[in-house]
Symmetry: C2
Subunit: 416 residues, 2 copies
């Protein structure tokens, strides 16, 4: 069972927005055992829309299309649909009523642009979009299901979860595919590949392995396809168990879990709290913690000490040490961690001080040099890294490395 | 002149990674006056790779392909290329030498996987990849240029900027396209569309307009295509000047500029500094400021006061006020802003306190309720918002709204 995803609109082709919808939709369809054959981004030229619908419709059983259904004038999708499906636009009273009910409480005065959204192709099944004004449109056409949704992510997600996926589940009956993703910190791709080569070579035939590197972490994805979901899940679990014995401390979690979220769970179990003192990461570690719902249970807060003056005034770092050793030094970063831990009255604190760049590097401390410390449980550990000359990557990798240092410290403490 | 972009690999089809490469490449090609006809994501099945290369090669003058060239075993691209271009793999000594020089200082022991990366199709022009081990591959084939690059974003970007784009500039001579993006805060899409309807209807024929909404901001993109770049640029500038008179205070910047970066420039010009006291935004405003190179010139730091205890202990908020009014209140958020301003000795401070959810809402203060304050220049302004029940969106929109409140205050101060 295969599906094609199509996005319509110049925004993606021109590089103004990144297509995050397709990744989300692909995951959801995979969970239903539906394979994505191809993802295609095209402009809103009617000819190109129709050619692509024709091509995808001839190869895939399901074609999901996003974009081209907003309230503004850059949308030419609906008239192309009418031509392709051989129908015409007609006003849908339910959609109009819904638009009025949705916009009036928000203080938006209904205008012609809003009203035009109630015009839908006559042969479409209308899918109510509770999150916005543009409805979803469902067509059964020559043995293929075509669904059109707005490109706004939370509207598309609502329609997928409450309208599209339930219908697909009902109509199609497919093979199942099971994925499991292993999240890894601290091993470069080629070293990882060598460490796990034997394990990889001996994987069962029904399992496929993929390496997915990113600045956040290294991911290994295991996929198994077959009839029996329970069996496949068990098969994957057995392989992951073997893997955990080969690279135990490098695995920090599974699936979409963030390192900060996983660390949060470890802290909750231990009834412990954490704070941060950030210089070069500039609030990003706090942001990583607080992106997780429920983080207030373990994260008490942080200081972003971006200037030396603030490092001394709020964190109480001796200005002489800063002058002598530099703000990017073992002494300063360790003092920052110890001070945050006291100030916030937490069990552990993470501190960072580095040169994110592009300016501020010296021959001894080039751009990318970052000192990271973790204080707590009567210990202070610190280490210096070089994360290279990309500011964004240095901020992310410093943050993840600091979180990972605390994770390893918690594991070490458990084993004492 | 048209180009097709192709990404190879299961990662995107399975939704495990979002395709950010295509957006970046599309922008760069657009700047050269090259239109993107289609972006296609496919798996690493040799048949599908070859069919897609054939299809794109028949429609576009340039085909840029990313993915499928990493050091690990999920890559089958190279053998498909050999079949498609009718050639064979051969070891390239320069590539091997480069791999050894790159990995040895990093402490990576060269293994067979690394060594295999030095095997390249015999008819390819090899593009040296200074950022990684997989080289770029360039083919001239039946009137079309095909380029293959690794999918790791910073490696692809390096190859594009230093190898691919310079060659494309040399070989092709094309029509030019000029874009300008206007960044807007504080107007919903349909209200904006109505406000600017007359202006939009009277745009010159060579200019196209697109609405690009996101949680960060609303973007309006004007695109003009023609022969004379100087003329097109002037034409767009004239239209933007008219637009600025219709919605003056809502426009905060242009192009890729972030609101925090723009605000930073405004602060530098005024020789002023800023600090933050964040509760519900949890470090994200600090992160937005410090994502900009040079932010230490105006951003002195921040407190993430995620617990009431820390709001009192570090920011000195009277616990009685918190008990009486709640942490999410006008009184508390204003006191937070005033306190941060004093503590950091800055000219302005932004404070947030809200319920990002999913828990913590009440009938009076539902999830999404956020109080935001700005203190400075002898004033404190504050306002309550509701950003809905998506935690991530609430964090982003609260951050952007706080930054925008300070921007408006600076403008107001200028006009006094």
């Amino acid at each position: 069972m295969e599906a094609d995803l199509i996005t319509i609109g110049d925004e993606i082709l021109i590089g103004q927005i990144v297509d995050t919808n397709s990744a989300w939709m692909a995951q959801k369809l995979n969970d239903e055992g539906i394979n994505i054959r191809q993802i295609t981004s095209i402009s809103d030229q009617p000819d190109h829309i129709m050619a692509t619908l024709c091509e995808s419709g001839s190869k895939a059983a399901i074609v999901l299309v996003t974009g081209g259904l907003g309230p503004t004038k850059d949308d030419r999708t609906k008239s192309a649909l009418c031509t392709f499906f051989g129908t015409h636009l007609t006003e849908n009273k339910d959609v109009l009523e819904h638009i009025i009910q949705l916009l009036t409480p928000r203080g938006v005065v209904i205008n012609n642009l809003n009203r035009e959204q109630a015009l839908v192709p006559a042969t479409a099944t209308v899918l109510t979009n509770k999150q916005g004004t543009a409805p979803g449109l469902w067509f059964d056409h020559e043995g293929t299901v075509f669904v059109f949704m707005p490109g706004v992510p939370f509207e598309m997600k609502y329609l997928m979860e409450f309208e599209v996926l339930p219908r697909i589940q009902q109509i199609f009956n497919t093979l199942t595919i099971t994925h499991r993703t292993v999240l890894i910190q601290g091993l470069p791709e080629s070293m990882l590949a060598e460490r796990i080569e034997d394990w990889e070579d001996n994987l069962p035939e029904s399992i496929r392995l993929a390496y997915l590197p990113s600045p956040q972490s290294m991911k290994l994805r295991l996929s198994a396809r077959g009839k029996d979901k329970v069996y496949l899940t068990k098969l994957i679990e057995q392989e992951i168990e073997k893997l955990s014995k080969i690279i135990p401390d490098y695995i920090y979690g599974y699936e979409e879990e963030s390192l900060a979220g996983n660390l949060g769970k470890m802290l909750i179990i231990r009834n412990m709290t954490v704070s941060v003192a950030e210089s070069c990461t500039g609030g990003n570690i706090s942001h990583f913690f607080t992106s997780n719902p429920g983080s207030s249970a373990y994260f008490k807060g942080g200081i972003v000490a971006y200037s030396n003056e603030i490092k001394s005034k709020i964190l109480g770092i001796d200005p002489e040490i800063i002058a002598k050793r530099g703000a990017v030094s073992k002494e300063v970063v360790e003092a920052m961690a110890v001070s945050a831990n006291q100030l916030f009255n937490t069990d552990f604190a993470i501190a960072t001080s580095g040169i994110a760049g592009p300016d501020g590097g010296t021959p001894e401390k080039p751009v990318g040099t970052v000192w990271i410390a973790v204080a707590g449980a009567g210990m202070v550990v610190s280490k210096v890294y070089n994360f290279g000359d990309n500011r964004e990557r240095t901020i992310i990798r410093s943050s993840q490395t600091g979180l990972n240092m605390l994770r390893l410290l918690l594991l070490k403490k458990d084993s004492l």
